[in-house]
Symmetry: C2
Subunit: 381 residues, 2 copies
Amino acid sequence: MSVTHAKGFTAAGLEIGLKSSGGKDLAIVHNLGPNQSAAAVFTSNRAKANPIIWSQQVIADGLASAIVLNSGGANCYTGAQGFRVTHSTAEAVARKLGVSATDVLVCSTGLIGDQLPLETILAGVDAARPTVDGGADAALAILTTDSRPKTSVIDRGSWSIGGMAKGAGMLAPGLATMLVVITTDADLPAHALDAALRSATRVTFDRLDSDGCMSTNDQVSLLASGASAITPTAEEFTASLTELCADLALQLQGDAEGSSHDITIETVNAATEDDAVEVGRAVARNNLFKAAVFGNDPNWGRVLAAVGTTTAEFDPYAIDVSINGVEVCRSGEPGEPRELVDLTPRAVHVRIDLKAGAEHASIWTNDLTHDYVHENSAYSS
Amino acid sequence: MSVTHAKGFTAAGLEIGLKSSGGKDLAIVHNLGPNQSAAAVFTSNRAKANPIIWSQQVIADGLASAIVLNSGGANCYTGAQGFRVTHSTAEAVARKLGVSATDVLVCSTGLIGDQLPLETILAGVDAARPTVDGGADAALAILTTDSRPKTSVIDRGSWSIGGMAKGAGMLAPGLATMLVVITTDADLPAHALDAALRSATRVTFDRLDSDGCMSTNDQVSLLASGASAITPTAEEFTASLTELCADLALQLQGDAEGSSHDITIETVNAATEDDAVEVGRAVARNNLFKAAVFGNDPNWGRVLAAVGTTTAEFDPYAIDVSINGVEVCRSGEPGEPRELVDLTPRAVHVRIDLKAGAEHASIWTNDLTHDYVHENSAYSS
């Protein structure tokens, strides 16, 4: 059900011929109200796609009536013509739904540097029929190299949240990451949505770093209809939203391009949370470590070589590292034999004890595999 | 000839059984004088191997009589026992050559986190017979997954420089990178060697970034015998040393683990040289771009997505990008058709025009290939 689980939303997903691989490639989500509160977070990449530039203007007043998303093209580095395509798409959706174009968010995903065919998109918008059952189709239409749709619902009885996500490559955050649409029928003003969304993404999507490559098109949007007439507390709503975002983020990790392991890098006893994040991200971006995990090789020296490149507070000769529960490095020296580590399960847990404080953070990443190289060398995407 | 081309040096390279793959694995270079001037640069990784910690003490007074290098083990994260191995190795070399142990540099390369067998090394030092013809054997003994030795000589008639290098994976600089030994018979004091070495490595080894992974063991050492009795000018010596370092760095690039392309990322019209280096390095570390080059796919959008993650001064809508001479992106919009780009040669040249100033820099990197994943997943190294 995803984005149409919460009351007050319709959605559509249809095939209009944008994706060379075929399949649904245009999605629309419509907020029927009574509220049109919204919040969104965007990629921090300075090379921003046209839909990002447009959507940042749309969200400025905390209102959005609809969101339109396409796969089959990123509409990034496409100049003035590319911006006209985004603008005209929003206007077409607005006309169709009877809303203002400045309340229509736009997302695109696919190859950078190619123009999208405007007439095809306009015809697609015209053909779209958003319904209360359209959530599943919409979740399909935003996929690129994803092997399966990612959806999640949290139902609190009197109110609920639902979401859909796509993301397979270029998975590394910079505030937000990938395309995500979340809807809720909670009755909350835009500033409350914004605070909850920033809080939730900071510890979920922002902790996912599959391949270290930051996208030009990432956007996480949250639309609230107020149709439940229920106003949860900020704590209650933020906790539920964080739970939903974590579920979607882990689905993205589990379907990352070519991956064969889901790796959690948990850094504990750091002086600061920033230190713990920096250490986790350094390990998550170390190609040698990621290739070793692919080969089921518990090469802990590569973990420590990566930690050594950070500015985090730690003593190289005090650090402990365990992999899947085996403490292979103790106080900077060889600990348990590395042969005891079993890396055959998909889930891998690396625990790094910096012994420098009381803060902690986990980063979610994937291994570096032949399939990752194959998918990203054989296709322009 | 490499390190024994310059007058005043002997060297040896022999097999002592450290490398599981077999082959020569211990090298010694002896400076016969009359001078023992020396300089060295080291990895900036905070996780430093024991030989790095030792050699930083040795070089502090600008004197070194010899250097001993082993492959088959990095002697990193091996605790107090590991440091004793390094120390005892230096003492054994000192006894053999009749010099002071505090004038013996030590380098190790191989797997992190395993102890080196001290008795094997001591027996190897005892068996070594450095000669004026030993340069080629020494260059072989420092290799790990390298497919061929890397040596270079610059002969100015009355004086000369020679060098040997190893490096195949974990190739990313932090001041210095990989193991390199350079010898010269020029008559120069330590401070002149140090200035020349820092100047040369800054624009050569420090611009090589094959896989973004900084080693714990990198060291570039320069030994000067003064045996030519010639003192070149600082400009003359630095230029020759830079030429030799560039030649060795490009040999390392050409033999990087699993690589099928040598990629030069040239950033021009940057506001500062630092900006140009940051941009080049961001592109050089982008796995999606590197995988695309492996697949002969001129996916310039991935170049721009990487540039967008930097803090360099540029306008995303003014930037030009050309690949192997084809301007695929002009002022932030699609330029020449990407189909015109031929990526079948090993050499790839990416030119990024930031239009923000007059500075420039090039970073040398490699593509991300199936062989890279294979080599780094199938073997603990």
